[in-house]
Symmetry: C2
Subunit: 377 residues, 2 copies
């Protein structure tokens, strides 16, 4: 008798399960296999998923009709008997529009295919647009991106600054003067496709989770830009937080005698780590830049140590300007975390920068759609 502790699954059951839910789940199992492992025969898919050959054939037939998969012929080198037909994800059967609204001066977006490849990019300048004007700017950017693809659009994903609820309403984003702005509903109305909006750091962690070669353990992505924020995938799920504010660590006070912060208090992590402030400090004449970066890294490590110990994270990924983050800052943060936590907490931990660069939010926005619509990530 093997009994497993109930971890990583909902403790309290929610909602009835329909026949349709099981079908969608099984379809996702097959798509996930093709998405991560590449083309496979129906027999391979049955083995990998544990589903019967009949169920697999049935679901593959449905997905062929919908266009999400395609038949690729026999694998090279099959010789004996009737060769199996490989099935693969039809990466360009549908496209996704991914938006990144986290920059202060511009809104950027991309047309992304089902394999996460960025096919086209486009951006618009913000030029001080706020409130309703900023919503209209997002609509214009989206519509210009939609015009850049001839494929059906599977959905629109948006990484927005600020606090965003699960229905895609931006509760508060000071830079864009958005308060309770129903961004998802507005875009869904305008474009008549599924729309998913999340905080930009939450979007980034999905991008890293899916396309950043991360493992399956706890992942934190720390975004360093004008602001500082984080996103978490824990136990295989995106963390939202009680009021949707998970990851808002930029305003944790690290030095009560520190610099004045935009939030009105002193010594927030952001006063040390935001890209503009850090760039200014290391650029001052006569400054020992590596020493400054190392010092900031140590302070960052001190903030991260309790988080690492609490969550037993597998990976911490820094995302932002490589010339600031990758080097003395990263090394010092890594060292401080290990000095301040038990070996069991830090042994399995990797601290690194993201290889996705600035694309992390747009591809993460695509993952919002991939995950919700196809169940793959």
């Amino acid at each position: 008798m093997t009994s497993h502790t109930p971890v990583g699954r909902q403790l309290r059951p929610q909602g009835k399960l329909l026949q349709e839910d099981a079908r969608r789940h099984h379809r996702s199992l097959l798509l996930q296999q093709l998405f991560r492992e590449g083309p496979a025969s129906r027999a391979d898919l049955a083995r990998a998923s544990g589903l019967t050959r009949v169920t697999v054939s049935d679901l593959v037939g449905e997905m062929l009709a919908d266009g999400f998969v395609t038949e690729l012929g026999a694998p090279a080198g099959s010789r004996v008997g009737k060769p199996p037909t490989l099935v693969g994800l039809a990466a360009d059967s549908h496209h996704i529009i991914g938006l990144d609204l986290s920059e202060t001066d511009r809104m950027s977006g991309a047309v992304v295919n089902l394999a996460g490849t960025v096919l086209a990019r486009h951006e618009v300048h913000v030029d001080g647009a706020e409130g309703e004007q900023a919503v209209e700017l997002v609509q214009r950017l989206t519509s210009e991106l939609v015009a850049m693809t001839e494929r059906p659009v599977l959905g629109i994903g948006v990484g927005s600054p600020g606090i965003v609820d699960t229905a895609g309403t931006v509760i508060d984003a000071p830079n864009l003067a958005w308060q309770d702005t129903p961004l998802s509903a507005r875009l869904a109305e305008a474009f008549d496709v599924p729309v998913y909006v999340a905080n930009d750091a939450n979007t980034a962690v999905l991008g890293e989770h899916t396309f950043g070669e991360s493992g399956d353990g706890g992942l934190m992505v720390l975004r360093v830009g004008t602001g500082v924020g984080a996103g978490f995938v824990l136990g295989g799920s995106l963390l939202h937080g009680h009021l949707g504010a998970a990851g808002e660590i930029g305003h944790v006070v690290v030095d009560v005698a520190g610099e004045l912060c935009a939030c009105g208090r002193t010594g927030c992590l952001e006063t040390l780590l935001s890209a503009p402030r850090l760039r200014r400090r290391v650029g001052e004449p006569g400054v020992d830049a590596p020493a400054v970066l190392s010092d900031v890294g140590t302070r960052l490590g001190e903030v991260l140590a309790p988080i690492v110990a609490a969550l037993n994270l597998h990976e911490i990924v820094l995302s932002g300007p490589a010339e600031l983050l990758d080097g003395p800052l990263l090394d010092a943060a890594d060292r401080a975390i290990r000095e301040r936590t038990m070996p069991i907490s830090s042994t399995g931990l990797a601290v690194r920068t993201s290889k996705l660069g600035e694309d992390v939010v747009v591809v993460g926005a695509a993952v919002l759609v991939l995950s919700a619509e196809l169940g793959v990530s």
Copy 2:
């Protein structure tokens, strides 16, 4: 078109869903309703669950046969037409054995019914038992508890010190000299019922989640005893961590110039906060006990602030000696957290002590069984 961000659910699909899984899920929906809201008619259950009357009647019939629910007759005051029959959880149809191995001098346990009521208690002295001897002691305690109930035993739940994997093997528990000790398998073999073993802080957070009147947001239970550890329920799931070490915050360094810790380093949170050390400090002649407790609370708040900001927790519950925790220490921790995080992080946060007292681990051990076997918590 309403599209919800995929939070709080597995991003990557896992395992096929059987007809049997849907049936178990629906049964759990009904049991959860009876467990949390009390007796209800079949019509009430259909309304609350969204299941059809036919499905509900069928599942209730099955649960009546299994003994988990019972018919209670008509509610008082029904007058018109055929009165509905209420169905209720048969709390004493089965009993659960809950064990708490977290104390250094004794192992304690209880017979708990399906409603979480402790019906009988029993304990054994550890007397320096280690390794295999300690396993045998757990078996003796369990067998004496099993003898204290005449009901079928639904399962055995154990809150153990140390790092425990999801299969219930204790990877490392220095106090009991357990290393890779398959505690769950050993008990399952001896008693032939389902056995669930988790770290004692993880067990405690389940106890608080289910019986501690906590809400549905992120919950952290901080256990203060000989050691200091925490457990988390986030997004409705128990957090395990990459190597099963989630919540091990006792050895986060808070003061590099602090006291020597049992782990060989200096200034770990445990050197300030463990019950024996704290009791000794406030008991010293001439010491201003409230000032000491307040100072420790502030340091604790500084460690918790990054965790609160990262997770956007709803509740932090301190569990341990009330005379130490409830008062200046709690107040100072609460204040330090709020001073060091943004309002969005701390506004929805409650910091309090547990009303479950020392029972939190044994009832949490019962929740391990309730959750895994019946899907209720």
